[in-house]
Structure formats: C-alpha cells, structure tokens
C-alpha cells in the first residue's frame, strides 16, 4: 500500500469506532438520566466533557447557561445536537461519519467493494436521519441503528478484506479509539463523581457505563465468578480484564498483535508495552482516587504517543522494497 494511505486507513478505523462508541454512549447515558433522581450530580453536560469538550463553552454557543436548572430540557436538546446532528461540531456523529467517508473515498482502491457500499449506506442514513428534531423516543432507535450499521461495515470488512498492512492498520485504529474512549468515559464519569480525598475508593458498580460499553452481563459474570478477587470493581474490569473486548487491556493486546507484522514494529510494540506496564505494575484496586486519575492521564498520553508512532511509520526513509 501507499505510504500516504497509512493515515487514512488508520483514521478510517478510528472514526468507525468513534461513531459506534458515541451512539452507545448517548443511549446508555439517556437511560441513566431517565433512571436517576433529581439530586444526582450527573447531568447532560458531562457527556460533552467525555467527548473532550468544554461544556460551559459549548452550551454558551447554544445560548445556554451551564448550571441553570431551569434550562434542563434545552440543555439536553443542545447536548444532543452537539453530539448527534450538528455537522460543525467536531464530536458529532454526523461529523464523524463525514470524516469516515472522506477517508474511505481517499483510499477506495484498498477497500472491498462490499464495504464501500455499506459505508455509503451508513453515511446516507446518518446524514438523512441525524437531524435536530430527533425526539428522545426516536433517539434510542436511531442510535441503535447507527451501531448496527457500523457493525455491518466491520463485519463486511472482516469477512472479505485481504489480511495485510491495511487491515492491520484499520484494526489498530479501531482499538486505539476504543481504548481512548473507555479511558475518557472512566475519567469523566467515574472519577469525577468520587470524593477526591478518599484513599480507598468505594466499591461501585455503574451499570449504565457498562451498558454503554456492552459489558453489563459479562461484568456480572466476572464478579460472580470472583475472577479478580474480592476487591475487584468496574474500574479493574474496564482497565485490566483482558477477556472483555472493550477493556483497555484487550485493546492493547489487539494493537500489539496487529502491529507485530507492520514495518517499524519494534517502535509500536515498545509503546504498547509501556502502556501495558502502566496498568499491570501495581494492582489497580490498591490505588487511591488521585492515583487512579493520574494513571488514566498517563494512559491517555500514551495513547497519543502511540498514535504518532503509527502515523510516522509511513514517513520513514524510502528504502528499496524487499519481498
């Protein structure tokens, strides 16, 4: 494949995963908010924080005040617009889908015809359906359908695409994005609700987060079978439980497996190993909230570095090709 295509195929994987993850996140948090009591700390703006946005600034751009309890309905509307339909929002589903198609269009010669078709269907669906007027009730259906269509693209690709550099880079892109999203969810939604001064964190189990990640049942299995000892909680599970396909540990494992065959694999593997070391060097259950927060920051920095290492494999000096 062309050196220039590395970034496109890598971003193709990232945007596809981002689309799926965002749709799941919107659904899970909608359920959480519908369930929760009025006095809950958690509100719609947290979703913006998870996506790396400054919620006060974003809401101000929609003419709303961050803390205004009188504007709850409008805030929900604005947050959803920002995450779903606003094409100018860098974190909206529509924007991610446009980026997805742009990258696919640029490397179409690498993609199987069937996948190209599924991507087109996904894009026209998203551009037509993700509009401002989506009601709460329609939203659930819409997000589920987007997730389903993302799975169609991945499934098509998985069953027909040649195994080679392009497939490896796509797989790495997906899992890097997934690890990034999981740590961001943990950072904002879990840690911000804990008391920062606490030494031992309370054992908690936030079913909606696990739902967002499609892992509620498997978490139950993990607890019921005492797979990580009595102190285990959702944080260990999401960081360290390698059998759960949305854990950071699993994502790193997949990145290492796909990176092994790529040129400059030592640099990729070294970066992955550093990240793996971070989550295994001490028992996560022993960490205080502050330490956990630091750990998650370190993981996020490591993910950014890994992204750069991958993008840079293409810019190495052009040596004669050896078969």
């Amino acid at each position: 494949m062309l050196a220039r295509s590395v970034e496109n195929i890598f971003w193709l994987g990232r945007y596809l995963e981002r689309l799926d993850d965002t749709a799941r996140l919107v659904n899970a948090t909608s359920h959480l908010l519908i369930d929760s009591h009025k006095d809950t700390e958690f509100g719609w703006p947290v979703l913006l924080e998870v996506m790396g946005q400054d919620s006060a600034k974003v809401l101000a751009s929609y003419g709303l005040e961050h803390q205004n309890r009188q504007q709850l309905a409008q805030i929900e509307q604005a947050v959803m617009q920002h995450l779903i339909s606003n094409i100018d929002s860098p974190v909206s589903i529509r924007n991610a889908c446009s980026q997805l198609r742009y990258n696919a269009r640029t490397i179409r010669q690498l993609l199987p015809r069937d996948m190209w078709e599924e991507l087109n269907k996904l894009d026209s669906f998203v551009q037509q359906q993700c509009v401002e007027t989506v009601s709460r009730q329609q939203r659930y259906q819409l997000m589920t359908e987007i997730s389903r269509r993302c799975q169609m693209v991945i499934g098509t690709l998985d069953s027909v695409m040649l195994r080679g550099d392009a497939f490896d880079l796509f797989t790495i892109g997906r899992h890097l994005e997934r690890a990034d999203m999981v740590t961001r969810i943990m950072d904002v939604m879990v840690l911000q609700t804990l008391q920062p001064t606490q030494l031992k964190r309370p054992r908690f189990r936030w079913i909606s987060i696990l739902n967002a990640l499609g892992g509620a049942e498997s978490y139950q299995y993990y607890i019921a079978n005492n797979l990580a000892g009595a102190a285990a909680d959702a944080i260990d599970y999401l960081l360290c439980y390698a059998d759960f396909p949305r854990s950071v540990s699993y994502c790193l494992h997949r990145i290492a497996a796909s990176g092994k065959a790529l040129p400059n694999s030592p640099a990729i593997l070294q970066q992955v190993h550093q990240l793996q070391h971070l989550i295994t060097e001490q028992a996560v259950t022993e960490l205080s909230t502050v330490q956990l927060h630091q750990l998650i920051d370190q993981i996020q920095t490591g993910i950014i570095d890994l992204h750069q290492v991958l993008v840079d494999i293409a810019t190495a000096e052009q040596q004669p090709l050896t078969a």
Partner: protein, 486 residues
Amino acid sequence: MSLENFTGGRYPLLKNCFDELVATDGSARPPASAIARFIAKHGDLELCKRQLQLNQTISDMGVCFTLYADGANIDRAWPLDVIPRTIPSSEWQRTSAGLKQRLAALNLFIDDLYNEQKILKQGIVPAELILDSKNFLAPCQGVSPIHGVWANICGTDLVRDEHGQFLVLEDNLRVPSGVSYMLENRTVMKRVFPELFADSTIVPVDDYPAQLWQMLASLSPRGEHVPPCIVVLTPGIYNSAYFEHSFLAQQMGVELAENHDLFVEDDRVWLKTLRGKRQVDVIYRRIDDIFIDPQAFRPDSVLGIPGLIAVWRKGLVAIANAPGSGVADDKVIYSFVPKIIQYYLGEEPLLQNVETYLCQDPLQRSFVLANLDKLVVKPANESGGYGILIGPRASQSERDEMAMAIKANPRNFIAQPTLNLSTAPTLCEGMLEPRHLDLRPFILQGADLYCSTGGLSRVALTRGSLVVNSSQGGGSKDTWIINDEG
C-alpha cells in the same frame, strides 16, 4: 404477447430520427422485445418504481461524479435511465471491428508522426497541420513505445444517423473517461431488473478491468517474467473523474497514485509504499500529458513528476496513453482518418465519419460562414462538449460571435451538418419519451486489440437537446448487446 405497439402506441417517435428500440411502425425492434414485454406486462407505474429503486441502488453503491460548479459538494449521484439501449450482437461485431481498425491505424499514424513522418512527406496529411499543432509534442520525437502503440486506451464517440448507421463523431485519445459508469450501470441494472437478464441473452461487460490490466501489463518494460507494478495516476480526490480513477484501481487491484507518491531516481520511476520504494513499470495516467512532467512540458505544473519523460524516453517506464497521443485527437485530423486507414492498412474504413468542413480551407470556410444556421461548429481541441455552436438552435448574436472566432483562427474550427441523432425511450416524469443519445465504446491496444462490449450510452435528458455530456445535464443508459446469432 403482441409487440406491435411499443407501450401501447403511446410512444411519440420523432420524425427523421432512428429510434434504438422502436421501429418506424411503432413495434419493438427484435433486441428490445424482452423490454417491450416487460412494459406491456407491468405498466409505466412499475417503471417508475424501478427507477426509484435504481436511484437508491446508485446512492448505496456510491456511484457518483464531481461537478466543479458544485463547490463543496464533491459527489453528485450518477444519472441512469431505467430503460436500457439495445444493439444486436451481429451489428456490434461489425462495429467493434471498425473501431479496432480505426485505433490500429491511428496508432500507426502517431508513431509515424513522431518518427519518419512518411505520411507528411507524401502529402497525404498536410505537414503544417501537424507541425504547427500544439498537440505535437517535440519531446516525443524519436520515441517508439512498446508494440509501436501510443494511444492504448481510446474512447470513440459514435452516433447513429437517421438511417440507423453508426458514424464516428470523435476519437478520444488523451484520457477518455466513462468506462466505470458503463460497468456500474450494468451492476445496477442487474439488481433492478433481474427478470430481464433471465429473459434475454445480454452479453456481459465485466471483463473490461481484467482486459485493461492485461493490456497495461503487456506494456511493462521488464517483460512478462517480472510481475509488473502498475499504477493509476490521478490528479487527486477533487478531480471530476476521481470516482472512475479509484474504481479502476480497485477493480484492477493496483495502486492509485498521486504525483507526490511517485519519484524519479537512478533512471527509474518509484512508488512510495509503506514498505519502501517500489519500481513502477506502467503508469496509467489520468492527467493531461502536458502536466505530467514539469521538466519536459509545462514548468508550472504542480501535478507532474519531475524527470518522468526522460525515463519514458529511455523505455524504462511505460505511460498509457503515451504523451503526445493527443496529436491525432484533433477534430481537423479527424477528417483525415479515412485516408489514414487506407494509407497504413490498405483497407477501406469499416466505420464512416460524419461529413466535416475544415474552416482552414478557404472554400470550405466560406461555405461554413454562409451556412452557420444549419451547421454545428466545433473547436478543434476541446472536450466535454464545451465551445460548440449548434447553428439551428443558436441566436443570431451567438452565430455572429462564432463567425468572428472562425475568421480570427480558422485552423481551430471545423463544422458538421446538424445530425438527427438517434433516440431511445427514456423515462421523463413518468412517461416514456424519445431522447437523443450517443455511444462511447472503449478500445484497448497493447500487445492485442480489444473492444468493450457496447459502451457507455449517454442521453440528453432535455427534450430536443443534443448535448449528452454529464457535465451539462446529460444522463446515461445501460447498453445491452443482445445475442442474435443463436
């Protein structure tokens, strides 16, 4: 089922035009009988439903083209009419033989022009026509590409006159486009009309990408024992034909390169791959030749690969079509093609030209100027249907303007009688109406000659219009070669 009345006699045949599907007595022509039966059985409403299904399929498949006028919206859905155009296979065989004959002669002609120039010395083609042409590229002189072939891919535009005879309208020897739409039209039609494919023997078109690959491979300077590295060279994702470039690369399983993916080093052309540089053997260029190497042609080109022409001249890389092929793709040269065929092949042309008046010739020029209201005037070196004057439909001031342009630069213009282009039934607002159309087959020449099965039928969607270009509101039809030879 009676086929005497196509669509129950409601189809308004145009006077003095040959209709592709319907005979003058209103009955379906034999290759169109399956279509006529379908319409008789299911009715117009079903056609409308299928047209909607067809449009959805095109959107799903991402078949699109780019109009520069559209600004940020880079992809526009490809227009395809629900009614195919049919041609009997016996007629197509004769036509494709004529197309191959024509390309073979044109390639002998180009090779001669850049080498011995026998045809000029013998005065069969006036030397000044060639030597003064901006399409005659000096850096190509003395080069003889492999197999002596310069134009490896040709898209010839055919029209039918009122007697139903195919005539050549122009030879596109530079970077002809449209073949991807020919292939995608068929894929779409098979999904939308599976029953019609079961009912008639429609000759498949889908071997074109394999034929194209094989032809390109036959150009490899390293011979047949080294697996060739072939690339499609595109100006990039914003080019109007980018869809086709990426489609052909995908279908042939080769890389789609932009100029900065290629570089020249040690007298070779290299491709920058993820795993290092790879030697390139054949470049299927979709960039105009004068932009391909700033060192050889236009120094201001930002699309080119510096040093490429020097490597090509040494025979260490093949370029298809070879730079300089456009010298024979000129509407003035066109009028000499019958003589060119006789000169090089000693054969009579199997396909006829449209009668053409050269404005360069004083006698012919005064005829053209006196008959501007009856003729079609074309610039010698434009494509895409730009700059054409259709005399009978133009205003007096447009004709006056053209008369001035002709007098100022007679070499640059030719004129032809206004043809009664053939028509085919086309779904227009729920009704079948006759619309004018042409046909662009694709002919390949490397070690062998190949002609596509049919080609791309382009149709003028506006009533009475003769302009079929998709950049100017034209549509398309799937072209069915129907086996009539048992």
